[in-house]
Amino acid sequence: MLTILFDGIAYGMVLFILAVGLSVTLGLMNFINLAHGVFAMAGGYAGAMLVNRAGVPFLLALPLAFLAAALLGVLVERTLYVHVYRRSHLDQVLFTIGLVFMAVAAVDYFIGSSQQFIALPDFLRARLEILGGNIGAYRLFVVAVCAVIATLLQVGLSSSRFGARLRAAVDNGRVARGLGINVGRIFTATFAVGSGLAGLGGMLGAEFLGLDPSFPLKFLVYFLIVVTVGGTSSLTGPFLAAIILGIADVAGKYYLPGTGPFIIYAVMVVILIVRPYGLVARSEAR
């Protein structure tokens, strides 16, 4: 029971890291980026290449995966996304789906469609006995890393000057611009960090989420659930949503093996019936 709870929390925290970038950019620019999973995939594959082919140590490959995905994010944002910000949501949907198709097809063609497994260092393969429950060291590691990142994000957002500017820009872009805040640059920076985090999540999650070319589409629903249910005006909303989702999914798979992700969708539907604008919603929704 404790194992399941812990596994669920680990799953949820990775989901949070994966989806947090999407939540912030949606809230910031009202931009529906369905290609978010592509950056996660990029980070995952970068990590896999580094560790499996180039022999880079796992712990070093993690920040490198972050960087790779972040750089890809900046590149794509500056060259492509920037032209689509003011378009309708339908246009954004079509555009980002197009990007997903391109990315998925390219990865499938050049690397192949088999699942990627990232070789873990020995100390992360151990299983530990904690409080009577059997917990994998890797899961513990994942939870620790994600907890640190989540804390850094929250502190950064609430205490730093960048964080203040970001919050202002999310709250009211026009006024923020009027105050001299360069919303465009903030967006690029945020997009880069969000994509980087997605990439890190992709690499961290490869072990238990599975990494193959279908990743961006397979997990798109999960990202959207986290963002929609959690809302876009805080970090705590998506965090809670991701944790709930993670636990529900793992518990569902264990206790009701015939149903799979069915539980998640059912939970999501129920939550959205009760609160159509998300768990932690502002009084005015976008």
């Binding site: 529906i32 949907v93 097809a105 969708y265 604008y277």
Partner: protein
């Protein structure tokens, strides 16, 4: 005053009148059965895709509802027809009706979630419902899981069985497509259709002139789901097979691409687009499967960058000039 009133009638009559090119289109469609006697099963697939895209046009082109999960109704229709045929009664037309009715029910039930909330919520819910159904079909034993189900439908009207050459299939699908198209055309040119256009253009004002906006949107969403369900059921009956692929996301995305490129809101846009898309796909897929997906993605990106609305006006103007405007 009488002259003005006559001009008013003429305005409506002119818009709803059948254009010569519309007749030509349907004659060409029927003629294709004679001109390509060895590609009848291909024609069958194109007809079904056309019907599916038409169903999406009803909500996207005429009600402005963006859905990423329309395949859900397609799949529900297919599985319902299959299960009905296996468990109860194997008549294909009844199966198609059952498929359509089941999809309509699911559409009606989900419309209440879909029509509240923001664009994002809507996208997520449509995607979520489709994913949920995919998982259900995958896990439940009586849906055949990953292996799918095989059907053995009776002959149509007791006379024409589904032969290997696909002739019955193609004719049946085209007939259904045509009938449903006529119905859609009627709806579009009716006061109901006009009220939908009003709701899409300005929901606030629509309510202020007495239109029950929510009710109308639920109605068109249900009709659209029924159409998609019938398309799925047709595929099940004519190919005698249903599988998880009928609930796959790429079908929703493909239909969206076809409709947007063909021209949403014109009725014919989806049909012409379906033909072009499927023919191109056939040609390109022979090279590599990934090749096709990649280039669809590229086209999407380029079209949006170039300005979809500006580009969409090209086919719309073309259709209007050629007199092929269904709406």
């Amino acid at each position: 005053m009488s002259a003005a009133v006559e001009a008013g009638f003429a305005h409506f009559r002119r818009r709803a009148a059948w254009r010569p090119l519309e007749y030509a289109f349907w004659i060409a469609v029927v003629a294709s059965l004679l001109v390509f006697p060895r590609r009848l099963s291909f024609i069958n697939e194109v007809a079904i895709l056309g019907l599916f895209v038409l169903s999406l046009d009803l909500i996207l082109g005429f009600a402005g509802i963006v859905s990423l999960g329309h395949v859900a109704f397609f799949g529900v229709g297919a599985y319902a027809a299959a299960l009905f045929g296996l468990a109860v009664f194997a008549d294909p037309l009844v199966g198609v009706l059952v498929g359509g009715a089941t999809a309509a029910l699911v559409g009606f039930a989900s419309s209440f979630l879909i029509l509240r909330g923001s664009d994002l919520t809507r996208l997520m819910i449509t995607l979520g419902v489709a994913s949920l159904l995919y998982e259900l079909a995958n896990r439940l034993s009586w849906t055949g899981g990953a292996n799918g189900l095989n059907l053995a439908p009776d002959p149509v009207f007791g006379i024409w069985s589904f032969d290997l050459f696909g002739r019955t299939a193609a004719i049946a699908s085209l007939a259904v497509l045509f009938l449903l198209f006529l119905l859609a055309r009627r709806i579009v040119h009716s006061p109901f259709g006009l009220s939908l256009r009003a709701v899409t253009e300005n929901r606030l004002r629509a309510g202020a002139i007495g239109i029950p906006t929510h009710r109308r949107l639920v109605a068109i969403y249900t009709v659209s789901a029924a159409y998609a369900g019938i398309a799925g059921a047709l595929l099940a009956e004519t190919t005698q097979f249903v599988s998880l692929d009928l609930l796959a996301f790429h079908r929703s995305a493909d239909a969206l691409v076809v409709l947007v490129l063909g021209g949403a809101g014109t009725l014919y846009g989806g049909l012409v687009g379906a033909i072009v898309f499927r023919v191109l796909q056939d040609v390109v897929s022979d090279l590599t499967p990934q090749y096709w997906e990649f280039w669809v993605g590229v086209v999407l990106v380029l079209v949006v960058l170039a300005g979809r609305e500006r580009l969409a006006r090209i086919p719309a103007n073309l259709y209007r000039r050629l007199g092929l405007e269904g709406a």
